[in-house]
Subunit: 524 residues, 2 copies
């Protein structure tokens, strides 16, 4: 397998010679109905992006030159594609083998391991839902509280929020979930105050078992619970752990049960492992979480297609690289037209920016081109009344990705002035894509819209558990493909270490840096 | 008064000749302790920004040349500084006159108007808190639900979340607040389901009285409440309005009471008017909201100082322009080290990007330089475990602004491994500023940190109502000063209109654009 930097490819040299297409004239009805790719229950539309067929041909060439599908298969086969940390990258396996595992004993063993942990979670969930396992004072568990940070928080929290109303309105929600993440002590205190702790089950999530914020919050939560002086209350009977077998937590007997992950599941890729699976199965049941895994597995399988015109995550990745490295756009926005996805962009911030915010290639050599962009987003139509002004008339162009659904989650709606709310929501979505692309000439320069602002759309029928799984995996695979195009390691995060080291030095009193000491003094 | 574009000033020409300072070598203990500006209960630190004294001198010159303080005084005096819409800009007046209003009858009249509405709100709040006014079935109101979008949602919601735990832990919270904003029908349905509607009081907020999302959500909420078939329940006895006197809502008698604003309070600047004041006074009482106004007023007064070394919002604005227009950074991040400020960056996105995401100057002529940047942010330490990787080691430099507090809001804390959580939180903050600025050389390029990444800090003792008011006004004034430097109108938002027009065309069936019709068809 060849590992070339992006600027060593022929396709990149050719792409640099292309001239930028005008989105305003590109956006035709014919493109809308033809430039779309099916990915499980989703369809990816790229009619309003500045790519002509010759550009798409070159992106296909880039994909082939960089051997993206072959490298994806290496990941699936258990190669050590996390080069910096010498680790396999196996999050796909948590939702089922994409390639046959026969003859690959080590992979088969991992497949079994993830399945076993899932079964353990399902059985434990069954026992708390049925009341076989109760809290220390005999009350049924009705609330689950996840303590974790980063990937142990953002992904699981975004998925929980995305499905809560869908399941609640169908009578399928088993437990309410809360999340404690920040080392800011107000975070834990607010959650503990707002729940009945006799009915609360905690999930302590830390792969290493050493995460400062998480261990601190565990101890703070225990202190606050003990402070309530409830006779017979025992915090150890209210907590399970999600960790790796080798962590200090795994050896502890202060938990009702422990569910395991391993080093081959990166934090930001862990939503479909026990890290997300435990809280989501407790909250919504095994069947719902199974549907989410099924949706993710469909996206993983669809990502195998070497034809970029048939592979949505691959096409999304390649056009993203084109807009980043050829057109030079440093920021992208994700705009879900569904309130349920309110925290999904925050998860994508971690997924994308932590994976591809790198300056060295997989061999550790500096790259001479831009890598991952900044990503932000809020749900539409809310964003329209906020930062869309800059997106429409600002001095920079920001590529947009809309996420839409034909039906609302609850299907509770009202006809006002001849249209339902969901119809209004999607009318707004279609209007925005058009307004960004085509703009509108106006003699009053203040009311003039230059247009030429690119956007794509991921569309599904409804935000179901399965659709959410597909959406999650779409972005994981998109980020993976972009990392492979850039020839960087998308699976480590050395950039978070320096801050941790300096924090430890401050707390242990071993700092010698004068300006840092001065800062600490100001903050005291 | 002269209104010159930025590139017509002498200072800008001089600034372009300066060479970029290296933050790594700039950050000394001496700068940390000396480069700070008091702004009410906050202190602004700019030691870790790439500005030398000669650059600051030129920024002072820029401020003088652009007559920023004089123009601020024009705003305060009631000049029509919203040139596009021919409106005054009077949000400062909602927290008290910054300049004497004597002899300015029109301004005096407005001052009285805002005061009168505030008094009306306080009196009404007193009646619902005491139970003098109850719901239609005789139950005391315990929940307030704001229906609004954009500035009628983001600011008030961010402020409510910021203060909720502070007041709750002091026994000073009067009512729980919820917010409905998105035209996505799932948003309203989820809120209505989760509250006891007999005890719920709605605030319908729309300045024009015609906001599609808000009126739709009002009707959907009423439908859902009627669907509960509660004997004697009358939705009209559960709703007040915040609107302008001339709006269709003002004429309606379907409200318990109406509180008024006017066209001189822009949506994103309306948190200290009745738009934010009603919900915050209902939730927390008049005294708390009064403290917030007091804090904002202090920042407004501090912003009068023509010496940029003594004016935090002005210095913050000018250094922002320097980093945007001289150093060329297109994105900024806001990183509050307080979980209570979790939605504050979303408010700032609207405030900043809707105000200064413009391409024409106040006369409507195109400008030849960049204006407002993209802004995003999440609370630390959460962000550290998410997108900080890109901030530390990505290929682009993103200027950062940290917000910190010496004490937590609840002051409930625990000592683990020799330090309290709040100490750990602030150790992280100090460590991050240092790590970004100085980096760390490492032979392993994967673990190498280039440094040179600029940041500033806004620090206060505690996130009290007063501190929050100061913080809010700091950013309003910063954004105002930047708009004045760029010679743009920060107070209109024509960029949101085109999408609205196209949406109406779709819903009324009058669209003739083929690609738009094709999009609508795909979304059906």
């Amino acid at each position: 397998m060849k590992y070339n930097n992006l600027d060593q490819t022929q396709a990149f040299a050719e792409l640099k010679k292309t001239s930028q297409a005008d989105v305003a004239s590109l956006l035709t009805a014919e493109r809308v109905t033809s430039l779309k790719i099916t990915e499980g229950v989703f369809t990816y539309y790229y009619a309003a992006l500045p790519v002509t067929e010759p550009v798409v041909d070159l992106l296909q060439q880039l994909s082939d030159e960089q051997q993206l599908i072959e490298k994806y298969k290496l990941i699936l086969s258990g190669e050590e594609m996390n080069t910096g940390e010498h680790r396999k990258v196996l999050h796909h396996l948590t939702r089922g083998a994409v390639l046959p595992t026969e003859g690959n004993d080590k992979l088969k063993e991992k497949e079994l391991f993830y399945q076993t942990e899932r079964t353990k979670i399902n059985e434990f969930a069954e026992k708390i839902h049925s009341g076989k396992i109760t809290g220390s004072t005999g009350k049924k568990f009705t609330t689950v509280i996840q303590i974790g940070i980063g990937g142990s928080d953002l992904g699981p929290r975004a998925l929980y929020i995305a499905l809560k109303n869908y399941l609640r309105s169908r009578g399928d929600q088993k437990m309410n979930a809360y999340f404690i993440s920040n080392v800011d002590p107000d975070d834990a205190a607010a959650v503990i105050e707002s729940v009945d702790i006799e009915k609360a089950l905690f999930i302590l999530v830390s792969k290493s078992g050493t995460t400062q914020e998480t261990l601190t919050n565990r101890d703070l939560a225990v202190k606050l619970m003990k402070g309530q002086n409830i006779p017979g209350f025992n915090p150890e009977k209210h907590m399970v752990a999600v960790t790796s077998r080798t962590s200090p937590l795994a050896a502890s007997d202060a938990f009702l049960e422990s569910f395991f992950i391993d080093d081959f599941i990166g934090g930001r890729y862990s939503s479909t492992s026990a890290v997300g699976g435990t809280v989501l199965t407790f909250a919504f049941g095994a069947e719902t979480f199974g549907q989410l895994l099924e949706g993710a597995h469909e996206a993983d399988t669809a990502a195998l297609d070497p034809d970029i015109r048939k592979n949505a995550s691959l096409m999304d990745a390649l056009i993203g690289v084109y807009m980043r490295n050829i057109l030079g756009y440093p920021v992208s926005a994700i705009l879900p037209y569904s309130q349920a996805l309110s925290r999904f962009p925050a998860h994508l911030q971690q997924l994308d920016m932590e994976s591809n915010g790198k300056s060295v290639n997989r061999e550790g050599l500096p790259v001479a081109y831009k890598t991952g962009p900044v990503l932000f987003g809020e749900p539409g139509t809310n964003g329209q009344h906020s930062f869309f002004q800059l997106l429409h008339q600002g001095t920079d162009i920001v590529p947009l990705q809309f996420i839409g659904f034909k039906k609302s989650q609850k299907e509770i709606d009202i006809d006002i002035d001849g249209s339902m709310s969901q119809t209004k929501l999607n009318a707004n979505l279609a209007a925005q894509i058009t307004a960004f692309a085509k703009g509108n000439k106006n003699k009053n320069p203040n009311k003039n819209f230059s247009g030429g602002r690119p956007s794509s759309l991921l569309l599904a029928d409804q935000l179901t558990p399965k659709a959410l799984g597909t959406l999650l995996a779409h972005y994981e695979n998109k980020v993976m493909f972009q990392g492979l195009v850039w020839n960087i390691n998308s699976f480590d995060q050395e950039g978070v270490q320096l801050g941790k080291i300096l924090t430890r030095q401050i707390l242990s009193g071993s700092t010698t840096d004068d300006s840092l000491l001065a800062l600490v003094e100001e903050l005291r």
